[in-house]
Symmetry: C2
Subunit: 303 residues, 2 copies
């Protein structure tokens, strides 16, 4: 499969998403930071980090495209293809996390990526991974349903079983085991995917990537002008602490990336702009903050 086609899709997706975010933010421009790995680094490649900080709607919205080539596929890159460990490989993807200012607007995360490895005596194998998931600070059932429905609609053309499979995978992955809490209300997550063949699997990846805007932007538009006070802001900052804990302690991409010499600023695009921690934070019983924990960020069928 021609990797230029994939690159061209991903670059366009990043551009489209960031233009949309900028427009929702009232035209706030984003900063575009193109980077290239130095010739002596273990991975070769380049990328573009795009970020909007201190906007009207978004306090921090980062979206990165990267495209790297390496001489030896690390074992962590595929759980299901040990025979490809150590093969030359190519990886590219778009990854984003948007942290809104208003506590009634959820945080969203999306990643779409492909990896292609070429064993010494074989043909290139290409596979895909990614997904999108939502982390609200206040729960709204209709928002959660809309997000999951958009995820399901993106997958339906590729098989009825994909949404339930990828939804469960997402619930399993975005779990803060040290808190016994989910990160948010989930969404879809998949990895090592090429079971539809390369072309159709790539079509599915595109469908997932294209679903970010329709899944998320309507929720932003609906909630961004909701009045809030210090109480909601404090709750948001405390919940953002959980986001940091998940990403730095449990997220394989983040943790492995930082420990193995990845590009730190690109990896940590996901960090919230302002975060608080306090001892044994408690929410008032039956408050909306408590409902988030008891009714929303618990695994359930949304559709």
């Amino acid at each position: 499969m021609d990797s230029n086609l994939i690159r061209s899709y991903l670059v366009g997706l990043q551009k489209n998403i960031m233009n949309t975010i900028s427009s929702v933010d009232g035209g706030t421009p984003f900063v575009s930071d193109a980077w290239e790995k130095a010739p002596n680094e273990p991975l070769q490649g380049n990328g573009v980090t795009q970020i909007l900080e201190d906007g009207v709607v978004f306090e921090r919205a980062g979206c990165g495209f990267s495209h790297v080539k390496g001489k030896q596929l690390p074992p962590s890159a595929t759980q299901h293809r040990p025979e490809l460990n150590g093969s030359p490989f190519e990886a590219m993807g778009v990854s984003l996390v948007f942290h809104p200012r208003n506590p009634y607007v959820p945080t969203v995360h999306m990643n779409v990526r492909m990896i292609a490895a070429t064993p010494s005596n074989g043909q290139t194998v290409t596979w895909f991974g990614g997904g999108l998931d939502l982390t609200p600070y206040y729960g709204f059932r209709e928002d959660a349903v809309h997000f999951h429905k958009t995820c399901r609609d993106a997958l339906i053309p590729y098989g009825e079983s994909l949404y339930p499979r990828f939804k469960n995978w997402c619930d399993d992955y975005f779990c803060l085991k040290h808190r016994g809490e989910q990160r948010g209300i989930g969404g879809i997550f998949f990895d090592d995917f090429c079971e539809l063949g390369q072309e159709k699997s790539f079509d599915m990846l595109k469908s997932v990537g294209n679903s970010l805007i329709p899944a998320y932007i309507p929720l932003v538009e609906k909630r961004k002008d909701t009045p809030y006070t210090e109480r909601q802001r404090a709750h948001q900052l405390y919940r953002r602490g959980r986001y940091v804990e998940f990403n730095l302690v449990w997220d394989r991409g983040t943790h492995f990336g930082l420990q193995s010499g990845g590009r730190t600023e690109s990896i940590l695009l996901s960090m919230p702009p302002l975060v608080s921690w306090s001892y044994d934070h408690k929410t008032e019983k039956n408050s909306p903050e408590d409902e988030l924990l008891s009714k929303f960020i618990v695994i359930q069928e949304w559709l």
Copy 2:
């Protein structure tokens, strides 16, 4: 060696330190949270978490004592005694991190701990670990020298070579490899220590524990009323992000504790109360903020 003696020292140390912190904070009380492991948990034991939040001088000052017993020593507990893996063990310690409000006052961390393991056909082996280290937001050479001198003075009675060894160990340990930065100006760090025999090694541990107040409190008193503006506060919040990154990504105790079912709120006492992240944060050339990075948090001999 009688572990009650060690317990009694550590409990007294925690009390003494938290009373001092409360007094420096103008009498702000700290909250004392005693906990006990449920009988069905893999580790048995108890502890007391003491925390002062939202004080005048300290924005968050947490100090924990814990004392646990387990049936099988995990391999991560000792790098140098593989023959003890799987033996019944006892571990206790005091651990603290103090986050001041004024950006001119440094953050301090201290840990003193003992582990004792009893192999099935042998005598109990006891060893000690810990240290203290300083993380300033603005550099003052005389403060760094005072801190290191107090650490050296605590160790001198136990051998001339200990300070240089433990100082280097500290520099090696408190390194954010993903940033190519040290966490702070260091201090001392040691582990697996019993080379002076159990009694004298415990005496050394006490000397280290007792050095926290003379090493740190004079710096707090000297800097706590320094006027500051939003600029210094913003710099402090950005540097606190590095503290979070170190603790969640690199600190073995934190990372292992969270992944293996430790008591989350006690482990995360070290988190700063308020933290910010922004993309590719830059400091103004030759500013005091820049000097922190170029002249202070780089490995050097302070004495």
